[in-house]
């Protein structure tokens, strides 16, 4: 039956061993890509005609910003799967995503502020993208706060799952309203936080960093997932050999 792969993915012992096996296959390529991207971005790529070497912050800001949104979406999808089909492994994925997403959202905020600083002259500017990023950080903190406040794992999984789905519906609305609000009060900021039209030598390292960060996310997710799966297993015998190994 075609669904067997789906059911096997849902079985904790299979996922635990699969995650353990796959982690290096994501970790090493991620490391190589990031190192190559850094080398390309910091050394090979020419300085930007407008922002000079300051633009090189994009090689850490853009991947972090991409991570903050991609991880939240992954979390919401995993939570929805967990809620609809009652799959504990899906909830374990969602639980593993949150801290990763939150940490890179914070990194995106700081790097975004550092990048804007030369232009704005201040460390914080209510720029629409930075403001959306800040609100996204609060969504993460709300998710993790709710999860921590509920002792029973199953209830924490399902309640935070609903919050993640409600949150992901609101992310575009928040982004639109923040951009709309910002356009009211200021001319759009001159700085191109968005992906500027840049030369290949500048673009390639950026794509490497984006892919590298994504693979890094999967690697960390797989490590955390094993822990989360274990903590949701009650009496299954398969834990015995896994834990004693």
């Amino acid at each position: 039956m075609t669904w067997t792969w789906f059911h096997r993915l849902a079985s904790p012992p299979y996922i635990y061993t699969l995650a353990a096996r796959l982690t290096p296959w994501f970790a090493w390529p991620a490391g190589l890509l990031i190192v190559a991207g850094l080398w390309g971005g910091l050394v090979l790529a020419p300085p930007d005609y407008q922002q000079g070497d300051g633009f090189r912050i994009i090689y850490v800001h853009a991947p972090s910003a991409w991570m903050s949104l991609m991880v939240y979406t992954t979390m919401a999808i995993a939570a929805a799967v967990g809620l609809i089909w009652r799959i504990k492994v899906a909830h374990a994925v969602a639980a593993s995503c949150a801290p990763i997403g939150a940490s890179f959202t914070f990194a995106a905020l700081v790097t975004g502020a550092l990048w804007g600083q030369p232009m704005w002259g201040t460390y914080w500017e209510w720029d629409p993208r930075l403001t959306s990023e800040l609100i996204l950080l609060f969504l993460y903190l709300g998710y993790m706060g709710l999860r921590a406040a509920l002792e029973d794992t199953q209830r924490a999984d399902r309640a935070s799952g609903v919050l993640a789905v409600v949150g992901v519906v609101n992310v575009p609305i928040i982004h639109y309203s923040v951009t709309w609000w910002n356009s009211l009060h200021q001319a759009p900021t001159v700085m191109r936080l968005a992906k500027p039209e840049i030369a290949a030598s500048m673009l390639v390292p950026l794509l490497m960093m984006l892919l590298g960060f994504t693979l890094f996310f999967v690697a960390i997710l797989l490590v955390r997932l094993r822990g989360e799966v274990l903590s949701r297993e009650r009496s299954a015998s398969w834990i015995r050999e896994v834990v004693s190994a």
């Binding site: 070497d53 912050i57 991947p63 990763i100 822990g227 274990l230 834990i239």
Partner: protein, 57 residues
């Protein structure tokens, strides 16, 4: 040698570029450590639960 020092100046933006890279690198390292610690803690809890069930059952 001066190309090294010129590299670190980052065209005068050193005060912004390097902290940005530092915070991101910190995020990466923190995530690695945090993930490994939470896995180790879960394995330890599972081992303790098994031991407790060992006597209990």
């Amino acid at each position: 040698m001066n190309s090294m020092s010129r590299f670190f100046e980052m065209g005068g933006y050193a005060a912004f570029v390097w902290p940005a890279y530092a915070i991101t690198f910190a995020a990466i390292v923190l995530n690695i450590l945090w993930a490994r610690r939470s896995l180790a803690r879960s394995r330890e809890e599972a081992r303790r639960r098994l031991a407790a069930r060992g006597e209990g059952a």
